[in-house]
């Protein structure tokens, strides 16, 4: 498991900040660099430097605004799982390499492990928790059940969201398009055939077992 280290020691961070300012060419005690100092101040004001400590962040998740107080380094995935208890998206590789953390941001599938939560502000974030309505599975979720599209199930929520983004963009796909369109998700149990059939079933095409 990757190291979890959200809480860095504040004293160390303060030292780092000073080190940064020196490194950026500003010998702060010298009069000559008053310009550099002023520039730094102007940059801070203009571009709003935030952190490294906790800062208020509002995320719109499945249509509902959620207020958080988190450090800039917190990824969207960790904000969902650790702050909001939305544990559908899974933390597996945490390196853009498996797809288990897939969510939909602004209508597009993305890896939540590779986006900072602070960057996702003001965007529509859809997670697997938002798919079912009043306890009734979304047709895509039902198609996963109908087609045995999961075994251990760990990759499933990510797959479901990748499939949803794919179907939103390609409502009438061929099997070849389905295979290519799901190239960003891995399943170590090897349920790819079931997943592809679930996508075809949802699209109302033959191939899904429920339509067979």
């Amino acid at each position: 498991m990757p190291k979890r280290d959200h809480a860095g020691p504040p004293s160390e961070l303060d030292v780092s900040r000073r080190g940064f300012l020196k490194g950026a060419g500003a010998a702060l005690s010298s009069g000559i660099v008053a310009g550099a100092e002023a520039l730094e101040a102007a940059n801070r004001a203009a571009a709003k430097i935030i952190g490294p400590g906790k800062t208020p962040v509002t995320l719109k998740i499945n249509g509902v605004n959620k207020a958080l107080n988190i450090e800039p380094r917190v990824t969207l995935l960790d904000a969902l799982r650790d702050e909001l208890e939305l544990t559908g998206a899974k933390r597996v590789c945490d390196r853009s390499s498996c797809g288990a953390c897939t969510v939909i941001v602004s209508g597009k599938s993305v890896y939540a492990c590779s986006m900072l939560a602070i960057e996702a502000q003001g965007k529509n974030i859809e997670t697997v928790e938002g798919l079912s309505v009043a306890g009734k599975l979304h047709p895509l979720q039902q198609a996963f059940v109908d087609n045995d599209a999961q075994q251990c199930g760990y990759c499933t929520p990510g797959f479901v969201m990748a499939c949803k983004a794919f179907l939103d963009k390609n409502p009438n796909p061929t099997i070849e398009q389905v295979r290519k369109g799901l190239g960003g998700n891995l399943c170590r149990c090897g349920t790819y055939v079931g997943v592809a059939e679930a996508v075809l079933q949802t699209a109302g095409k033959k191939g899904g077992r429920a339509n067979a």
């Binding site: 990757p2 860095g8 940059n43 935030i50 853009s96 597009k108 590779s114 190239g183």
Partner: protein, 329 residues
């Protein structure tokens, strides 16, 4: 991942002002698909992260038959892939974008980010730097786990392969990179954008720590036939084992001039002038393409476990040439 200060400037001037005078203090964030992974492994550990995605001026893709193609460094791989003009006029580039096989990476990853991607070498990613050595000071890679390492440009000290998917096509199509810094814009050919590092503090491009890659400009491609061919172990979620991008200027049925660029074979995208010269004045057929493919890997020096890549690179060049010759534009 260590904590960092975060800023999301809306102008390129602000962005450059927020960067540092030396590597390591600040990093530029765009798509995040590489940088955040690197930071989770503590390479690098910036004190400040500057998210440039909100700089409108560096977004978007624009084509004109008179001036060519302008790619904002922040345009995503998906934007590149779904652009009709790119597909029609610059097939090598569209095919290279298609090789980025994860939709999630295409949706988030940017053109600039593809070019500024750090090496995928597993020694590098494990924190051993560009030039891992054993206790006796001997290079680990030439006799180590080098299945995916360089076969060209590897006389030392670097053995990794540059991971960019788009660079070979951009170089074949004679693109220029426009770089913005505190002194304004400067321009380099994409071919010259990449450098082989000699020290662990170096980087793989000519970018300075307080500059950003702003845009890529391609000349009009009228009369140019181009193609990219990748040889892959897996169809998805992986980098090619070898790739070739070619651009041909034809005079009737014969090649007037050619560009042949290999990818994933050297620490920089590898342009082969030997292959280009082998094609001059000839028609592209199975034989001439095959000869040019052999010329492209001339001088290859495989390491202990990657001899197979010589054949893959040879075939990639041959197939890219045949594909380009058949294609239109």
């Amino acid at each position: 991942m260590n904590a960092f200060e975060y800023a999301a400037p809306t102008t390129k001037e602000q962005a450059v002002g927020l960067l540092a005078d030396r590597w390591g203090d600040a990093e530029v964030l765009a798509g995040g698909t590489d940088l955040l992974s690197l930071m989770k492994d503590y390479l690098p550990t910036p004190k400040r992260v500057v998210n440039i995605k909100d700089i409108k001026e560096l977004q978007g893709i624009k084509y004109s038959s008179a001036t060519g193609l302008r790619l904002g460094a922040l345009a995503t791989i998906e934007e590149l892939l779904s652009n009709a003009a790119v597909k029609k006029e610059y097939p090598a580039l569209a095919q290279a974008a298609e090789g980025v096989s994860s939709p999630q990476i295409r949706n988030a990853g940017t053109i600039g980010g593809d070019l500024c991607q750090r090496p995928r070498c597993w020694y590098f990613r494990s924190g051993l730097g560009y030039f891992p050595k054993d206790d006796g000071g001997k290079d680990l890679i030439p006799t180590g786990q080098n299945e995916y390492h360089a076969i060209l440009g590897n006389s030392g000290p670097a053995y990794f392969v540059h991971p960019s998917s788009l660079a070979p096509a951009l170089i074949a199509l004679d693109a220029k990179a426009r770089i913005f810094g505190s002194a304004g814009w400067r321009e380099v050919r994409v071919e010259e954008f990449f450098v082989t590092p000699n020290n662990d503090g170096d980087r793989e491009t000519v970018l300075k720590s307080n500059e950003i890659l702003g845009e890529i400009i391609l000349p009009p491609a009228k009369g140019i036939r181009s193609a990219t061919y990748e040889v892959r172990q897996k169809e998805a979620l992986d980098w090619p084992l070898a790739a070739a991008a070619v651009a041909l200027k034809m005079s009737g049925n014969t090649v007037q001039s050619a560009r042949v660029v290999l990818g994933h074979v050297a620490p920089v995208p590898w342009r082969s002038q030997a292959a280009e010269q082998a094609l001059g004045g000839k028609a592209i057929d199975e034989n001439t393409a095959s000869e040019a493919g052999s010329a492209a890997v001339n001088g290859a020096r495989p390491l202990s476990k990657n001899g197979y890549k010589v054949q893959l690179a040879r075939v990639a060049a041959k197939r890219a040439l045949l594909q380009a010759a058949q294609g239109g534009a």
